[in-house]
């Protein structure tokens, strides 16, 4: 025959606790998903943008052919520039098409000349120096290494990560708060039983251990349920997101499983620690 628990926990309260943990784990999963999606997206943007720059030569300047040669000379003699290739008129037209529509008479319009520059990402040339050299030759060319875009992508990703981290902390605090309230009311409902355990020779940590075990299971069950629900929601979200490349695609194959596991472990840890600290604190104060 298995030993009964030394503290008669009520199952109703346990189910409620597990439900709250499940809800918090669910939210934590989405906070993590948001943070990772943002990081991935920002990474994709900046990866695509670094290692490349463009030089635009205004259409209004005179003698475009001559200007282009000067610009190419300057670029090729710049340290950190691997290659500089002018785009053909067709390529420029393709770039402009989304804005102007297919224009068969493009050569009639004053189209800018664009030079695609391949730069060494490990040794990027200083934007202001390149620009100064271009200005020095009076070409009116504008050097753009997409630094502004990269910075914006990075700070957007950073902002999303901060919000996600904040959300994780809020979830942890919410779980801890609920555990503390529930353990406190449990301790006062069970005060006579706990006094008897103490009189029988139980140390405070033994009593705390009984609560830790209880809240370990509630945290584990709640965490797993919350993560499974979140996983289900994400799979359907993932199916939708393939429609639009703009949404971060949540690659569920690899490290995602570890992250879900991490949320469960985190929820369990918060439950157990909050229970332990509450029991030890309450018993010590009640002595």
């Amino acid at each position: 025959m298995r030993n009964s628990s030394l503290i008669p926990f009520r199952s109703g309260g346990g189910i409620l606790m597990a439900l709250i943990v499940a809800a918090m784990a669910f939210l934590a999963c989405f906070a993590l998903a948001g943070a990772l999606g943002a990081s991935k997206l920002a990474g994709a943007w900046t990866d695509g943008l670094s290692g490349a720059a463009t030089v635009r030569i205004g259409a209004e300047e005179g003698a475009p052919e001559q200007q282009l040669d000067i610009v190419l000379d300057i670029l090729k003699s710049t340290e950190g520039v691997i290659d500089a290739v002018p785009l053909t008129e067709d390529e420029v037209a393709a770039l402009l098409e989304p804005w102007f529509g297919a224009a068969p008479e493009l050569s009639d319009l004053p189209a800018p000349a664009i030079v695609a520059v391949t730069i060494d990402s490990a040794n990027e040339p200083d934007t202001s120096i390149v620009q100064a050299r271009l200005d020095g030759a009076a070409t009116g060319a504008v050097y753009d290494d997409h630094g502004e875009w990269r910075g914006r992508a990075a700070s957007a990703a950073h902002a999303v990560r901060s919000v996600a981290l904040g959300a994780l902390i809020v979830c942890a605090l919410a779980i801890a708060a609920v555990v503390i309230l529930s353990v406190r009311s449990g301790l006062s409902a069970q005060s006579a039983n706990i006094a008897t355990l103490r009189l029988a020779g139980a140390e405070d940590r033994y009593v705390a251990g009984l609560y830790q075990t209880r809240y370990f299971w509630l945290g584990l069950i709640g965490g797993i349920v919350g993560c499974i629900l979140a996983l289900g929601a994400m799979v359907s979200f993932d199916a939708l997101s393939t429609v639009s490349r703009a949404l971060p695609s949540l690659d569920l194959s690899g490290y995602w499983w570890f992250l879900l596991l991490g949320v469960v472990v985190f929820a369990v840890l918060v439950c157990v620690l909050a229970a332990r600290i509450t029991v030890l604190g309450t018993l010590r104060r009640g002595a």
Partner: protein, 221 residues
């Protein structure tokens, strides 16, 4: 083993329950605590099982001033003290056997280690057939016997018994008395609170009488 020096005790700001109490219970002694209802027998035992501190004077237990004990040390001391509470203090959600096993369990023993011992104890107090019954389904006398089995199961150095024969018939009272005598012969210190004057007279053991504030039989310090 147990040393009271001018001990006074009261509940909160209430009247003094114990006053100027000095005595010494040597290792291995059997001592009665007598006194009328309300004289403070249970209160004195309460100090001995470390549930409260004296409001005056000093109590030493196992050579330590009890006011210096940490909470963990209190727990460890209590493992060396078996108590039969006047109101039994059984856990209603546990079976009789689980209640008896409680001191062993909280001290970290595993069920396989104590199962036989617990069964034997319950057999001895005549409850072999009620091992898996919970206290609410037991009679007063049966509960008292479960409480006695729990007090002695861990083989403590000191046994404190508060009216342990209060709810049983004379025959069982005699058996219980024999149990405590037997424990005492095995070297345990026994402190036995009762208002049964006959029992005290027959046993010819040292007595601390709370009503008169005197003690007899050479126990007084």
């Amino acid at each position: 083993m147990i040393l009271f020096e001018n001990v006074g005790f009261r509940y909160g700001r209430g009247p003094d329950v114990l006053q100027g109490l000095s005595f010494d219970v040597p290792d291995g002694a059997f001592t009665f605590i007598t006194g009328a209802s309300g004289a403070g027998k249970s209160s004195l035992l309460r100090l001995l099982y470390l549930d409260d501190l004296p409001s005056a004077g000093k109590i030493s237990l196992f050579g330590r001033d009890i006011s210096t004990l940490t909470r963990d040390e209190i727990a460890w001391f209590r493992r060396r003290i078996g108590v039969v509470f006047q109101d039994f203090r059984l856990l209603d959600h546990l079976t009789a056997a689980e209640n008896v096993a409680l001191p062993l369990r909280v001290a970290g023993a595993r069920e396989v280690e104590y199962r036989d011992n617990v069964a034997e104890m319950l057999q001895w107090v005549g409850l072999g057939g009620q091992m898996h019954i919970r206290p609410p389904q037991l009679s007063g006398g049966e509960k008292q016997r479960v409480a006695i089995a729990r007090a002695v199961v861990a083989s403590p150095d000191i046994i404190l018994a508060d009216e342990p024969t209060g709810s049983v018939d004379p025959e069982m009272a005699e058996r219980i008395m024999q149990l405590f005598m037997e424990m005492n012969r095995l070297g345990k210190t026994v402190v036995f609170a009762t208002h049964d004057a006959d029992l005290v007279k027959r046993s010819k053991k040292p007595t601390i009488d709370l009503k008169s504030g005197t003690s007899s039989g050479g126990v007084a310090a």
